[in-house]
């Protein structure tokens, strides 16, 4: 039906474009631009509505400060350098936790994925421990590490460990056995097989694990920093709350969102770079 309708409509459309080709071009450009701008219409309207509600006094600044105030608070914090110090501290914690937990997850996943004996020995234990929510450990972690830096890094490490471990393990197990057989018949050594076939084959799964971990990493960081901190974005917002500086609280929330987005963009860039061969990641 649709095909038929299209074929009948085509000649008519052709005639029309011939007659007013300049206008049609202009109209097409306008439609293209409109389509690109359309998704931003609602957020923009909300922002304007929010600003208007604050300016007209319908919205108390105790509840939600005006966007302009948030922007002002952000620029003040940025100019004083306070913002960067806190962002640096928070990002440092997150990345250190990711490096430790993710590194261990990757190493252990590679080990249990590749060596049957290691799987038998370790996997059941890891699967059991996986069921403990990282946040349930908080009382214990405070007893162990106090409310120090190490407590936060530990919590992040524990939570990012599992997604990376699981996805690495499954990635390695799901490498096409036919490709491994092919590699063997082409005389690849054990290490050659690992480097040329197994690791690249597991990579897309490992990167999925990394993306999961990055999401978890920020959530755990926020919780850990909200509980107790002497620096970092969490400290900034909790401190601001004490003094009812809702605009600064909002700056903190937006900073977390921004860092989360940045981490996701980074993971996607890795996927685009390393999985260029994959039809699913080609533009």
């Amino acid at each position: 039906m649709t095909v038929q309708a299209e074929t009948f409509a085509a000649p008519a459309a052709d005639g029309a474009t011939e007659a007013t080709s300049g206008a049609a071009l202009l109209r097409d450009a306008a439609i293209g631009a409109g389509r690109r701008l359309l998704p931003w219409l609602l957020p923009l309207a909300l922002l304007i509505g929010w600003q208007a509600a604050s300016s007209l006094g319908w919205l108390s600044s105790r509840v939600l400060p005006a966007p302009a105030d948030v922007l002002r608070a952000a620029s003040q914090l940025a100019l004083s350098g306070e913002l960067w110090t806190h962002v640096k501290v928070s990002a440092g914690r997150a990345l250190l936790g990711l490096a430790i937990g993710g590194g261990l997850g990757l190493a252990l996943g590679l080990l249990t994925g590749s060596v049957r004996a290691c799987e038998t020995l370790l996997d059941t234990t890891v699967q059991m421990v996986r069921n403990i929510p990282a946040l349930a450990l908080i009382p214990l972690v405070i007893l162990w590490f106090g409310i120090d830096e190490s407590a936060k890094v530990f919590l992040i490490s524990v939570s990012v460990f599992f997604p990376i471990y699981l996805n690495t393990f499954h990635g390695i197990r799901n490498v096409d056995p036919q490709l491994i057989e092919m590699g063997r018949t082409y005389g690849l050594s054990r290490w050659g097989l690992y480097r040329e076939v197994v690791l690249p084959g597991a990579l897309s799964s490992i990167l999925v694990g990394l993306r999961f971990s990055l999401g978890l990493m920020w959530v755990i960081l926020i919780v850990a920093e909200t509980i107790s901190a002497r620096s970092g974005i969490g400290y900034l917002t909790m401190n601001a709350r004490e003094f009812l500086q809702t605009d600064v609280v909002l700056v903190g929330i937006l900073l977390y969102a921004l860092l989360g987005k940045l981490a996701d963009l980074f993971a996607r860039a890795l996927e685009r770079g390393w999985l260029r061969w994959h039809p699913g990641y080609q533009k």
Binding site: Q178, L179, E181, M182, G183, R184, T185, Y186, G187, L188, G192, E196, V197, P200, G201, L203, L275, R276, W277, H278, P279
Partner: protein, 253 residues
């Protein structure tokens, strides 16, 4: 493309000799006291219904499986595991999707082999696609890359495990020409497993039918190359072999 002309880059083939070869998977006997001799440089096609043991025989010769009993000699030496001079083309191309075409051909080879890999890629007609990802190639092109990957090692024995089974009829005829030409040029021994009798007659010096783990028919193909499928002698031979395969099927059913 004249038959049997010696060529500068000929690597020469090896003999394959199976004596009383047995292969069992548990209680199931796949090959029973199989006898087969393939001369150096000979092109032998193995046909048979699915499950007759033809692929198992190929996997034994490849060194991917071990015989339960009997003797298997390649180049006069007992076959023991994988052999560097043996290369296999599988039913699927089995290209590494994360390597570009040329790097797939160079799998397991040092960087110095690059010019040779390019040359072989040109021989299968894909020189200009060397930087492409395998996902971008058609099924026939992928099998041509797999053929180049096998040939770059200058094998003395090429095993073909239904490599054209998934291709369309036209691409298949093209691939027959290509494989025949490269076989004549390089001079390796070739063992082709196929369910397509026409393909077997088009390519092989000898067609072997395996039934119930044994060789039931061994027919030389004395037709001049390149062979044309429209030829009367070709058609007669194809019919003869096909009738024999079907007779067995009818009896089994």
């Amino acid at each position: 493309m004249t038959t049997g002309t010696p060529h500068a880059s000929r690597t020469g083939g090896v003999t394959v000799q199976a004596q009383q070869l047995d292969k069992r998977y548990g209680p199931r006997e796949v090959l029973r006291r199989l006898q087969l001799t393939v001369a150096p440089g000979e092109f032998v096609a193995i046909v048979g219904r699915s499950g007759c043991g033809k692929s198992t025989l190929l996997r034994l010769v490849a060194g991917l499986e071990h015989a339960s009993a009997g003797r298997l000699d390649i180049d006069g030496e007992p076959a023991r595991g994988l052999r560097t001079g043996t290369r296999i083309m599988f039913q699927e191309a089995r290209l590494l999707p994360w390597k570009r075409v040329l790097d797939n051909v160079m799998l397991g080879l040092p960087a110095q082999a690059r010019p040779r890999a390019r040359e072989v890629l040109a021989q299968v007609g894909l020189a200009e696609r060397e930087h492409e990802w395998p996902a971008r190639l058609s099924g026939g092109q992928r099998q041509r890359v797999a053929l180049a990957r096998a040939l770059v090692h200058q094998p003395s024995l090429l095993l073909l495990d239904e490599p054209l089974g998934a291709l369309d009829a036209l691409t298949r005829i093209e691939m027959h020409r290509l494989i025949e030409g490269l076989w004549q040029r390089h001079g390796f021994t070739a063992l082709l497993v196929t369910h397509d009798v026409q393909e077997a007659v088009a390519l092989a010096d000898r067609v072997i039918l395996i039934e119930e783990g044994r060789i039931a028919l061994d027919v030389p193909v004395d037709l001049p190359r390149p062979r044309s499928q429209g030829d009367a002698a070709f058609a007669a031979l194809e019919k003869r072999i096909l009738d024999r395969v079907l007779r067995q099927s009818a009896r089994a059913a």
